[in-house]
C-alpha cells in the first residue's frame, strides 16, 4: 500500500494564487479561446477538462483519503443522466440541473461508500465494482432514464446561460473550464484545511486516527460523497460539452480504470498531478495515432494501434508504480527545483 501513503507537500499555500496558477489560468481563459482550433478544443481540451475533473474527484477519495474505487465511471454516468433528466423534466436552468446532478451522484456515492466502513484495500475496490455494474445495468434496463429512446443514446441539451447559447466549441470550452476551475479551487480549500487533516489522517493511520478522535466513519463517507459529486459533474461535462450525447456505454469499467490511471500517473494526493495525468491520458493516444500515420503511412490499422496504445499505457503505469510512485507531479517538482538552481547559478 506504499502508493497510498505517498507524501503530500504539506506546505500551506498562500490564499492568493501562485504565479504558475495565474499563468495557466490566463492561458486557459484568454489565450486558448483566441488561438485554439476547433479540433484542439473538441478532441483534446474538452475531454481533458472532463477527465481532469473526474480524476480530481477520485484523487480526493483515493489519494487523500486512501479509499480505492473502481466505480468512477458509474458516478459520471449518474451525474450525466441525472443532469439530463433534471433538465428534461423540470426545465430548470442548466447550472441548477448540474448542482442537482452532483447531489444525486453524491448520494449514490454515499450509498456505495458504506462498505468502506468495514472493508479496506482490495476488498473495498471490488465492492465499488458493484456500483460500476449496477449503475450501467440500471441505466440500460430502465428506459425512463433515457426518456424512452430506443437506442439509449440521447442528444444532450445545449447549454444555455442567461439566454446565451454556448453551442460553439469555444463556448462549451469556457463553460467547462469555469466549472473545473471553481471546483479545483474548492478541492484545494478542502484539502488544505481541517478536513484535509481528517482525510490524510484516515489514510495514513486509521487506528491512530480513531483513537485520537478523528471521526473516521464520517470522514470516509464525506470523502465518498464529495468525490462522487465531483465525478458526477465531470460526467455532465463529458456528456454535455464533449460528446454531446448521453449514453451508458461510454461510462464503462474501462473509463473507471482510465480515471484511476490518471490519478496514479499524475500522483496521488496532488491536485496538479491530476491535470498532468489527464493531459497524458488524453494526448498520448492522439500522438500515437499521428506517429503511426506519419511513420508507417497507415500500414498499421486502427485496431492494432488501439492495442499498442494499451500495451504502452500499461507499461507506463507499471513504470510509474516502480520508479516514481508520486507520479508526474513529483517529476515536475524535481524539474522546477533543478531549473531554479540553474537560474540562481547562471
Amino acid at each position: 500500500m506504499s502508493v497510498f501513503s505517498a507524501s503530500v507537500t504539506g506546505a500551506r499555500l498562500a490564499t492568493g494564487f501562485s504565479l504558475p496558477v495565474l499563468v495557466v489560468l490566463s492561458l486557459g481563459f484568454v489565450a486558448v479561446p483566441l488561438t485554439a482550433s476547433p479540433y484542439v478544443l473538441e478532441a483534446i481540451l474538452l475531454p481533458f477538462l472532463a477527465l481532469s475533473l473526474a480524476g480530481l474527484g477520485l484523487n480526493l477519495l483515493t489519494g487523500y483519503c486512501g479509499q480505492v474505487s473502481l466505480g468512477s465511471a458509474a458516478f459520471m454516468a449518474v451525474g450525466a443522466f441525472a443532469a439530463y433528466n433534471f433538465d428534461l423534466r423540470t426545465g430548470l436552468p442548466i447550472p441548477v440541473s448540474i448542482v442537482l446532478a452532483a447531489l444525486t451522484a453524491a448520494v449514490i456515492g454515499l450509498v456505495f461508500g458504506l462498505p468502506s466502513l468495514r472493508l479496506r484495500g482490495f476488498y473495498l475496490a471490488v465492492s465499488t465494482l458493484a456500483a460500476q455494474f449496477f449503475v450501467q445495468w440500471a441505466l440500460t434496463k430502465f428506459s425512463w432514464f433515457s426518456n424512452g429512446s430506443p437506442s439509449g443514446i440521447i442528444a444532450a441539451p445545449v447549454i444555455e446561460l442567461a439566454g446565451l447559447r454556448l453551442d460553439s466549441a469555444v463556448g462549451r470550452y469556457l463553460f467547462s473550464l469555469t466549472i473545473v476551475t471553481a471546483i479545483t479551487l474548492l478541492v484545494h480549500r478542502i484539502v488544505s484545511g481541517p478536513e484535509g487533516v481528517n482525510l490524510i489522517a484516515v489514510r495514513d493511520n486509521e487506528t491512530a486516527a480513531k483513537v485520537i478522535g478523528v471521526p473516521v466513519l464520517r470522514t470516509k463517507l464525506v470523502a465518498f460523497a464529495l468525490s462522487s459529486g465531483i465525478i458526477g459533474i465531470a460526467g455532465v461535462l463529458w456528456a454535455f460539452t464533449y460528446l454531446r450525447t448521453v449514453e451508458p456505454a461510454g461510462f464503462n469499467l474501462d473509463r473507471s480504470f482510465q480515471i484511476l490511471f490518471i490519478v496514479i500517473i499524475g500522483g496521488l494526493a496532488t491536485i496538479r498531478g491530476t491535470f498532468l495525468g489527464a493531459g497524458l491520458i488524453v494526448v498520448f493516444p492522439l500522438l500515437l495515432g499521428r506517429l503511426s500515420a506519419f511513420a508507417f503511412d497507415g500500414l498499421i490499422d486502427a485496431g492494432l494501434i488501439k492495442l499498442i496504445e494499451r500495451i504502452v499505457l500499461g507499461g507506463t503505469i507499471i513504470l510509474f508504480l516502480i520508479a516514481e510512485p508520486n507520479g508526474l507531479s513529483a517529476i515536475l517538482s524535481r524539474l522546477s527545483a533543478r531549473l531554479r538552481a540553474l537560474v540562481r547559478r547562471g
Partner: protein, 289 residues
C-alpha cells in the same frame, strides 16, 4: 537481555531519588477508591488459547506516573490496548470518569480525557508536524466542513484557537522549529516527541505511553523522561508508562506494576518492587530468587 536488565536494576539502585514520597498512602489495592483517575477491575483477555491478561486489577491516581513493566509478552501492551478500547476484555471492568465500563469504544477515548501514544510510531506521515498535533484536537471541533469552506467567523476563530494550542504544546516540548515540516522527514526521536505532543494537545486527564523511549539514544531518553515528568507537574496528568529501560522506570515512576504471563505479580513503589522476590524470579529466572 538478562544482563541488560540486571544492569538496569543495578544502575537504578545507585541513583534513586525518593519520588514515592510525593504520593501518600500507597495501599497496593485501592480499586474502587473514588479518587483514582482510572482503574481496572479483574480484567482478563485471551486470544484463542493464549491468556494475555488474567484477572488484572490496577489503579491509577491523578497526578501519578505509574509504570507497567514485565518481560516481553507479559501483556503490557494488551493492558494499554484494553484501556484504549482497541481490545475488548473477556471479563472485568474499567473504571473511568466515575463510570464502571464493560467495554470502551476507541472513538470515545478523547472525550473521556484519555490520550495515548503507540509502541511503534502512529503518526500521519503525509501531514506536517503542526497538522499531526492539530489532529489531536479534531474531536472537539464544532464547525463542520461547510462552515470551514464558507470561512465563517466561528470556524476561523476555531482554527486560530487550534493553532494557538498547537503552538503552546510545541513550545512546551521544544518542537516549535519543526512545526511546518512534514513529519516523515523528522528523525525518529523527534517523531516520538510529536506523538507525545499530539497526545497532550487536548489536555487529557489520563495519558497512556506505550514504550515512549524505545529505540532512543540516552540523551533522547532523558529528554523524554523530563517531558513526561513536567507534563505531569503542569497538567496534573495521570500517566501509565510502559517501558523496558528499568533505569528510566525506577527514576520516573511513583508506582510500578509488574506483569508476567498476563498476571500482575507485584505492585508498589520502586524500592518495594525491586526487592520483590517474584519480580526477581520473573526477570532473572528461578535460580536467582
Amino acid at each position: 537481555m538478562l544482563s541488560v536488565l540486571t544492569g538496569g536494576l543495578e544502575a537504578a539502585r545507585l541513583a534513586q531519588p525518593p519520588i514515592a514520597a510525593r504520593v501518600p498512602e500507597l495501599a497496593p489495592e485501592s480499586i474502587h477508591a473514588p479518587h483514582s483517575a482510572l482503574a481496572l477491575e479483574g480484567v482478563s483477555l485471551s486470544f484463542g488459547g493464549i491468556h494475555a491478561l488474567r484477572d488484572v486489577s490496577f489503579d491509577l491516581r491523578p497526578g501519578e506516573i505509574r509504570a507497567v513493566i514485565g518481560p516481553n509478552g507479559a501483556g503490557k501492551s494488551s493492558l494499554v490496548n484494553v484501556i484504549s478500547g482497541l481490545y475488548q476484555a473477556d471479563a472485568g471492568y474499567i473504571h473511568l470518569g466515575g463510570r464502571r465500563l464493560r467495554h470502551l469504544r476507541p472513538e470515545a477515548l478523547p472525550k473521556l480525557g484519555v490520550a495515548r501514544t503507540f509502541q511503534n510510531l502512529a503518526l500521519f506521515p503525509g501531514l506536517t508536524v503542526e497538522q499531526n498535533v492539530a489532529a489531536g484536537l479534531v474531536f472537539r471541533r464544532r464547525h463542520g466542513l461547510l462552515a470551514q469552506l464558507a470561512g465563517l467567523p466561528g470556524a476561523r476563530a476555531e482554527a486560530a484557537e487550534v493553532a494557538d494550542r498547537v503552538r503552546d504544546v510545541a513550545g512546551f516540548l521544544g518542537i516549535t522549529a519543526h512545526l511546518h515540516r512534514l513529519v516523515s522527514t523528522l528523525p525518529y526521536g523527534l517523531q516520538k516527541q510529536v506523538e507525545l505532543a499530539r497526545a497532550l494537545v487536548a489536555s487529557p486527564k489520563v495519558l497512556l505511553l506505550d514504550e515512549p523511549m524505545a529505540g532512543m539514544t540516552a540523551t533522547e531518553k532523558a529528554e523524554m523522561a523530563a517531558h513526561v515528568r513536567s507534563a505531569r507537574d503542569r497538567l496534573g496528568l495521570a500517566t501509565i508508562l510502559i517501558e523496558h529501560d528499568i533505569g528510566v522506570v525506577m527514576g520516573l515512576s511513583d508506582r510500578i506494576a509488574v506483569l508476567d504471563h498476563g498476571v500482575k505479580i507485584a505492585d508498589g513503589t520502586p524500592p518495594e518492587v525491586r526487592r520483590d522476590p517474584d519480580v526477581i524470579r520473573a526477570y532473572l529466572g528461578a535460580e536467582a530468587a
